[in-house]
């Protein structure tokens, strides 16, 4: 095989390899990780985070506006501390509320961010004060049984 054909085939091979990588990068995957320069971080305390995981989406009105970047336990107040990285182009009022929600019945958990009415916006390092914990099924059933029992006692 002549040198020119060899070069041509290897060139096609490399082009196909790079094409496959581009396909994987653009069509299959996405840059889910939020860019550091174009984001700001806020903290929220929750009584119970349920099954929330790092990299879970943060949605407002159903649109993904950021990701959970860290989850830790604060042993001063015995609550979970969730660090949320939000995209800089989305600003939220300081009295916005965060709640842990579940997509679908068995889906993954995410944080729903609901805007408040304050004129001051959330800044890097601020804390979201209004939070609502994840719904734990066992507690829900317990409450239900308890209220039923009270109803029975009332009769």
């Amino acid at each position: 095989m002549s040198r020119a054909w060899l070069d041509l085939w290897v060139g096609l091979f490399v082009a196909a390899g790079i094409g496959a990588l581009m396909f994987l990068a653009l069509k299959v995957g996405s840059m889910n990780t939020v860019n550091k320069d174009e984001s700001y971080q806020v903290i929220a305390h929750f009584d119970n985070i349920g099954g929330l995981k790092v990299r879970a989406p943060i949605k407002s009105a159903g649109v993904v506006v950021g990701r959970v970047t860290a989850i830790s336990f604060d042993d001063k107040v015995y609550e979970a501390e969730v660090t949320m990285t939000l995209e800089k182009r989305y600003a939220f009022p300081r009295d916005s509320s965060a709640s842990i929600l579940t997509s679908g019945l068995l889906g993954e958990q995410y944080i729903g961010l609901e805007a408040g009415g304050d004129d001051v916006k959330l800044n890097n390092g601020d804390r979201v004060k209004l939070t609502q914990s994840a719904v734990v099924l066992e507690n829900l059933i317990g409450q239900f049984l308890y209220s039923k029992a009270q109803e029975g006692a009332g009769n």
């Binding site: 085939w9 290897v10 496959a20 994987l24 996405s30 889910n32």
Partner: protein, 264 residues
Amino acid sequence: MIAPLRVIARLGRYTLDGISRTGFAARFFLATLLHSGTAFRRFGLTIREIYFAGVLSLIIILVSGLFVGMVLGLQGYETLQTYGSESALGVLVALSLVRELGPVVAGLLFASRAGSAITAEIGLMKATEQLSAMEMMAVDPVARVIAPRFWAGVISMPMLAAMFSAVGIFGGYLVGVVLIGVDEGSFWSQMQDKVDFQADIINGVVKSVVFGIAVTAIALFEGYDAPPTAEGVSGATTRTVVTSSLAILGLDFILTAFMFRGVS
């Protein structure tokens, strides 16, 4: 010598052989790296080897990728459908291909298609004393023969793995969307939502580069170390396939344990 003593003596010889072979392999690998300059200065040599190792492996890689993806589509659909979440088929196919099956299966195929050929070629070069002849002409065989093949393997392997994954995802799309009728929009959009460029695709590429290094280094060493006889070369070829397949699977476990720990 008494029989039990002979067993112990043999154990000692195997251990010594193993240690000195490992040392020789490390020295050989180092020499290959040191002489890599030639592989890039005379890039024509490397291009020739990319043709033999990469381009000629294309057919087996593409066909097996397509079929692996199609099987993933079928089996994944069967399982996911019982939970009513067949729209997650794209995620299943893409993640299993990009993270594991792409690099590993492409690596195994590369080891048996290209690795064995490299070992046989170099073993025969040694048996027919071509390597010694080169040394007589003051041409370093490691620089002229070994290094271009090494870099050709290292360059080819990630390309082959990426193509395997891409064609596999297309195969999953063919079966899942075109044949079975999973919704096309959710197939692609859920896939894009769940597959992360850095965590999944880049790590898959890193894996395939590591496998490329392992397979080519093992193949070159087995060929260079082969006894210069017909049985010697055939034994070395077998050892290449066995050792590099085991190396791929073992390395894959280690890399996965490091890369995907804590990623949900």
